[in-house]
């Protein structure tokens, strides 16, 4: 069998991050290293001169097979702050829609001498597939693949949590909503468990939770107030509107009544609990505006920390390319 587990694929022979495809299998030390590196970049956007020359002369290509303005923009900004040149390919409207295979697209873009691909794709495993088939001199960063993984989003969430809570180990964290279809939730669960939190909970109706959820290392709750009782962090997930009707949920009204976060419900959590959301947020469905704009919401901080975390991951992966080139940065 030619494929290999992602965690083996994404480390080089020195144990350094070569690709960033998933949190699965990465060590606690490596995750902390990402967070520490991000810390060193976090102050940059506030300075008059925002750029550092770490990736000067490098070409980073955003390969977005699925639309996402916000994620693409933060990756682009992170690359530019590292002084890299950025190319954006919106492939959903390009070659593959004309019948070209993913592998053909990859070969063509490789011929343009990119050093890094930032990949978003609607199918689970797509970033893994590209990492397996691209040139050894290219690093792949997963910007979200199907229901599988969105590791930079998870790491920016971890960064946000660390900023507010410091130590991970005593924390209880609840993830609320459509875990079944959420690549963000899968990555968050892996990251939280790797960083050693006390307890990860998932909360939602059974139609929106994986049947084998416990194998992911979580406690399962179907009642929101019970699920967020005494937690330090509440992570609300986006409910894809296309999944609201039909057999998964009866309607938005019932969902909000049962799982929508309001100030009253948030009383069940610890008094200093923070509220997070990976966005884009559906106000009045996943949470009340009072909560979204309230003092416990750290939603906008998540967005700005996302740039620092993506800079950290890109610079670390590019450093492992330097290993390959014999130490030349």
């Amino acid at each position: 069998m030619s494929s290999q587990p992602s965690h083996k694929l994404q480390l080089n022979e020195h144990g350094r991050l070569r690709h960033f495809l998933t949190i699965d299998g990465l060590s606690r030390d490596l995750l902390v290293q990402i967070l520490d590196t991000a810390e060193s970049f976090a102050a940059l956007p506030g300075r008059p001169v925002k750029k550092v020359p770490l990736l000067r002369g490098r070409i980073i290509t955003n390969l977005f097979f699925e639309n996402s303005t916000r994620t693409r923009t933060t990756f682009e900004l992170a690359a530019k702050l590292l002084s890299a040149d950025v190319i954006n390919f919106n492939i959903s409207t390009s070659a593959t829609s004309k019948g070209e295979t993913l592998l053909d697209t990859l070969r063509n873009i490789e011929a343009m001498h990119s050093d890094m691909f930032v990949v978003r794709h609607a199918q689970s495993g797509a970033a893994h597939f590209i990492a397996e088939h691209c040139s050894p001199r290219v690093s792949v960063i997963n910007a979200g693949d199907g229901r599988h993984s969105h590791p930079t989003q998870a790491m920016l969430d971890m960064f946000t949590i660390r900023k507010h809570k410091g130590d991970f180990t005593p924390l209880r964290v609840a993830i609320v909503g459509d875990v079944l279809h959420s690549r963000v939730a899968r990555s968050q669960i892996l990251a939280l468990n790797t960083l050693g939190v006390s307890e990860v909970r998932i909360v939602g109706p059974r139609t929106l939770l994986p049947t084998e959820a416990r194998a992911l290392g979580v406690h399962v709750f179907h009642d929101l107030e019970e699920g967020i009782k005494d937690v330090d962090v509440v992570i609300m997930l986006r409910l894809q509107n296309e999944r609201m009707d039909g057999a998964l949920l009866p309607n938005e009204h019932e969902y909000f009544r049962l799982y929508g976060l309001t100030d009253e419900r948030l009383e069940a959590a610890k008094p200093d609990a923070i509220v997070m959301h990976p966005g884009p947020m559906n106000r009045g469905i996943e949470m009340d505006s009072e909560v979204a704009d309230g003092p416990r919401s750290v939603v906008l901080q998540q967005v700005s920390y996302g740039i620092a975390v993506r800079m950290a991951v890109m610079s670390m992966a590019m450093q492992s390319q330097a290993d390959l080139a014999g130490g030349e940065a």
Partner: protein
Amino acid sequence: MSISIINGRLIDPAHGIDDTLDLHIDGETIVAVGDAPAEFAAEEVIDARGCVVAPGLVDMAAGLREPGYEHKGTLASETLAAARGGITTVLCSPDTKPVIDNSAVVELVHRIARKLGQARVLATGALTQGLKGEMLAEMAALKQAGCVAVSNAHFPLASTLVERRALEYAATFGLPVFLRPEDRHLRADGCAHEGVVSARLGLPAIPSAAESVAVARDLALAEHTQAQVHFRTLSTQTAARMISEAQAAGLAVTADVAAHQLHLTEMDVDGFVAECNVSPPLRTLADRDALRRAVADGTISAICSDHKPHEPDAKQRPFPETEPGISGLESLLGLVLRLVEEKVLDLPTALARVTCGPADILGLPYGRLGVGTPADVCIFDMDRRWTLSAATMVSEGRNTPFDGWDFAGVITHTIFNGHVVYRATDSN
């Protein structure tokens, strides 16, 4: 051509024979087991000392791809692969282009296969026109043209009523119906077993219930129509138990399993291994072990290759977009003999599951070594080992998860209809 195979350990499960006996072939038939007939002079003598002399294998279901999908495989390439795998009779599936739903396509397939002369290719006719699941196929004409069973391959039927009518119509002509039990609504867009691996990898999942729900429905209709129903490629312990209970209750239903389901599990999908994208999906270790027990106790009386050769591009995609299936003809015997090594089955029982087991389901005279039966023989050396290399497979499809696996039982000869169609040499 006359051939004597001497000094071998002859195993013929159909007749309960496991003994050192010679076998004599004259023309297309076996003329003696044991002593040669008086005045028999063989033109070729094969000394099978140290080897097992078994019936040629009968494979219940293989996609041979021609006509229509020659970029995945041809009758020439795939029957060559069958010969190399010790398989002398292959039931080809009807999902060709055009579909095998009329006598002209049946005759085309038979004519090409006869001309090639590598293996006996028997056609499975379509259950519904175009495999669309709506209108019944011309089953009487298909039977007359030589189809030995009917099936809708992996395509769903439009409704339970269509299934009922199809079973009744097939029963009119005594045609066995192959059903692949899967509830299409529960399958949805799934590509992997609904379990711990799909939960972790975020792969759209197919629950075990997709199979058990369908088995329950199909069993009810089999009982109601009294049609001869054969369940294809079981994958779950629940389905195996339900079929065992139905058989105990007197229902004449049969079942097979794909050889890869007896060795691989959902864990093998980890890493998005496209070669392990199969339909039905690889299930849990408990399922695999239950299937092994069902093969051992005879609930499942046939092991098939479920051969689905693909061009490389079909697997060179993100996992959910890859086409399901394994190129299985060349690994079938190796996987079955591995069950013997792992003490799941004894050698005669293992061979029964790939010879007389499938032949009996279809009421065919193959997969046995009786006097007067077609001279289909597979000779292999259990003491020699070999390693499967995808690169050197003769099937057009190199899509195998068993690349690099080590197997017992080097096939030295495959004899089909009295002709040696495969002979091991140092180079192969």
